[in-house]
């Protein structure tokens, strides 16, 4: 366990040189950091709003008592679920086949 590279070292070098690997890492990296940035921006935007301008969230909407903070708060919860769903769908469809090709392609 301590030095797992020992057995697979040669294979890793082959994969590293494989353009498909470079493509996978680049594409997936871009997508995951984009999603992470969206989540962080939404959440910290919300926290900053709470920290500096509570009034906005307390403002009633639609003539009743329901405040703007309710749809925004529930919206962030739904956004979190939607973003995870988007990533899982793309990973299943696009990244998994690429990973499989890399694993099968590299000889033992």
């Amino acid at each position: 366990m301590a030095e797992p590279e020992a057995d697979d070292s040669g294979r890793y070098d082959e994969v590293l040189a494989d353009p498909r690997y470079q493509r996978l890492v680049k594409r997936r990296g871009r997508f995951t950091w984009l999603l992470t940035a969206i989540m962080l921006a939404a959440y910290y935007g919300y926290i900053l709003l709470i920290a500096f301008d509570k009034e906005v969230l307390a403002r009633p909407i639609g003539g009743g008592v329901t405040s703007l903070g309710i749809p925004i708060g529930v919206g962030i919860i739904l956004l979190a679920i939607v973003l995870t769903g988007l990533y899982v769908r793309r990973a299943n469809k696009e990244y998994d086949p690429l990973v499989r090709a890399l694993r099968d392609g590299a000889p033992q």
């Binding site: 366990m1 301590a2 797992p4 590279e5 057995d7 697979d8 070292s9 294979r11 890793y12 070098d13 994969v15 590293l16 690997y21 996978l24 890492v25 997936r28 995951t32 999603l35 992470t36 989540m39 939404a42 959440y43 910290y44 919300y46 926290i47 900053l48 709470i50 920290a51 500096f52 509570k54 969230l57 307390a58 403002r59 009633p60 639609g62 009743g64 008592v65 329901t66 405040s67 903070g69 309710i70 708060g73 529930v74 962030i76 919860i77 739904l78 979190a80 679920i81 973003l83 995870t84 769903g85 990533y87 899982v88 990973a91 299943n92 998994d96 990973v99 890399l102 694993r103 590299a106």
Partner: protein, 538 residues
């Protein structure tokens, strides 16, 4: 109901215990190797693991704590829920699949992957034990108080019962039994919360606006009964629809946000769940399910909290003249009684007890694996320990941790549970999280950097907490806190990142060269899972 023996609750809880002990006996026959014990043999599907994660994560603190917060302050409770949820997408995008591909039993497998084993695993084990112990104390104290109130049992008995049951699950059934206890608990809790939310909405013709309007009215009436003028009372009542007093200064608000979001991504018992699935694909699917269930649960909690304002807040049996609960944070429990009478009260009480059991089982297992896998097998035996030997150490550690949890639960009876949970999250966000992120994503990261930065983050979070009002003033009775904010993570997490970065940059040791050289191969394995096949088989 407080203090009176509640037989329907005890009866339903007895059924739960009998059923889960049956599962434990079944799981015990399947627990032969350390892979079974730590990771359920890596055979849990993404869907089941998602439910188990949700079960591990939706603690009694979130069910009872957040619904009571909403009961008291309205909207503020939602801010907490959102913070607890938004860590999950980040775990998925940056960590879940990589954890599965690089690790086998503990997150230290991943954190130490390309580094010198002994120092990194020692750090990881100590920080795991710190997080686990604080979280355990919170759960044990919560359990004791809850059971005392719900079942009419003495605090000491309640803590001992939780400790003994949890030991039985983990000791004999390992991760298989723990996973099933968590799944069953998640299903019960979600079902129960769904029923409560629907019952509340039913009374308002399924209009949330009508529910909110009535809640505002109730709060306004309480305020005017307290002697406020009509305008002031209306303002006070309306204040539950927006963020209020709960996060007073911006620094505390952001600091809490950091601890909640990134703490989740550093909780050892949560990270450990990613080793129970067969591959990265299932790891990913489990986060989607977990996020969905947890998000759904928090939306339910919001409705339950507002329902409690209306249905519990107007009942003088449960609240005093100022509208505060006589029982502390049992709003959801009272609501259960208001909705479904004594029988449903018993059911919800049993579910709340089951909830605590599932969480403490997961915590104890992760603490035990840190001792047996990281300290004993990797550091002390240098990776030469046999499966049987490692298992024996792990099981003894379970017993020791259970005794410790019982002892600390009794010693800290009066501690503020929410504070302890917050501390556990702050430690995880300041130690484990920066270490994992930089070891996964930064080539230049070295053994020394990780150990120095992780330690700095954990120690600073602890010290700042001790110097803050919660301990320095409230417990040590000093006149003024030295650290003016409530939550430390806004300082301690960046300090951890910065220390890892600077120490790694300055590190010119021979080991540092090995560490940096290992990055590219680690990355291939993290991205593709090549070499991780059958990682859980032996």
């Amino acid at each position: 109901m407080s203090g009176a023996t509640n037989w329907s609750a005890i009866g339903m809880f007895a059924i739960f215990v009998a059923f889960t002990l049956g599962i434990t006996a079944w799981a015990a026959r399947r627990t032969r190797t350390r892979a079974d014990f730590y990771a359920a043999g890596g055979g849990v599907s993404g869907f089941k693991n998602g439910l188990a994660i949700a079960g591990d994560y939706m603690s009694a603190a979130s069910f009872l704590g957040i619904s009571s917060q909403i009961f008291g302050f309205g909207y503020d409770g939602l801010i907490y829920s959102i913070g607890f949820l938004v860590g999950w997408p980040v775990i998925l995008f940056l960590m879940a699949e990589r954890l599965r591909n690089l690790g086998r039993y503990t997150f230290a497998d991943v954190a130490s992957f390309r580094f010198a084993q002994t120092p990194v695993r020692c750090f990881a084990a100590v920080s795991t034990l710190a997080v686990v112990l604080f979280y355990l104390i919170a759960q044990m104290v919560g359990a004791g108080q809850l059971i005392q109130l719900l079942f009419g049992l003495q605090y000491l008995y309640a803590v001992v019962i939780v400790g003994v049951l949890m030991t039985l699950y983990v000791l004999f059934g390992g991760m298989i039994a723990t996973t099933w206890v968590q799944i069953i608990k998640a299903v019960l809790l979600l079902g129960c919360a769904t029923f409560m939310a629907l019952a509340v909405l039913y009374q308002f013709g399924f209009s949330v606006e009508a529910l909110f309007a009535r809640a505002v009215q109730v709060k306004t009436d309480i305020a005017s009964a307290g002697g406020l003028g009509a305008d002031q009372a209306a303002a006070k009542g309306g204040s539950i629809m927006g963020p209020g007093t709960f996060l007073t200064d911006p620094v505390s608000a952001i600091s809490l946000g950091i601890a909640l979001m990134f703490g989740t991504a550093g909780l050892p018992h949560i990270l450990m769940r990613f080793f129970t699935v067969p591959d990265a694909r299932q790891a990913r699917i489990s986060v989607l399910w977990a996020t969905g269930w947890i998000g759904y649960f928090y939306i339910l909690t919001f409705i339950i909290g507002f329902g409690a304002i209306v249905l519990v807040g107007t009942n003088p049996a449960w609240v005093d003249a100022a509208g505060a609960l006589r029982s502390g944070n049992m709003a959801a429990i009272h609501l259960a009684e208001a909705i479904g009478g004594n029988l449903f009260l018993g059911f919800v009480s049993a579910v709340a007890f089951a909830t605590i059991l599932a969480v403490v089982a997961g915590l104890t297992l992760s603490g035990a694996s840190a001792v047996s896998h990281d300290l004993y097998a990797s550091v002390f035996r240098k990776g030469q320990a046999k499966s049987d030997e490692e298992l024996r150490v792990s099981r003894w550690t379970v017993v020791v941790l259970a005794l410790l949890a019982i002892g600390l639960g009794v010693a800290f009876e009066k501690i503020n549970v929410a504070f302890m949970v917050g501390l556990a999250f702050a430690l995880a966000a300041s130690g484990n999280f920066p270490v994992l992120i930089l070891s996964l994503f930064w080539k230049g990261c070295t053994t020394r950097g990780v150990v120095a930065g992780g330690t700095a983050g954990v120690v600073l979070a602890l010290v700042l907490t001790i110097l803050s009002k919660s301990i320095w003033v409230d417990i040590l009775h000093n006149p003024k806190p030295i650290f003016p904010y409530i939550y430390p993570a806004i300082f301690s997490m960046p300090v951890a990142f910065l220390t890892i970065w600077i120490v790694s940059l300055l590190d010119t040791s021979p080991r540092a060269a090995v560490d940096r050289k290992g990055y590219l191969h680690q990355r291939v394995r993290a991205e593709t899972g090549i070499g991780a096949d059958g990682a859980s088989a032996h």
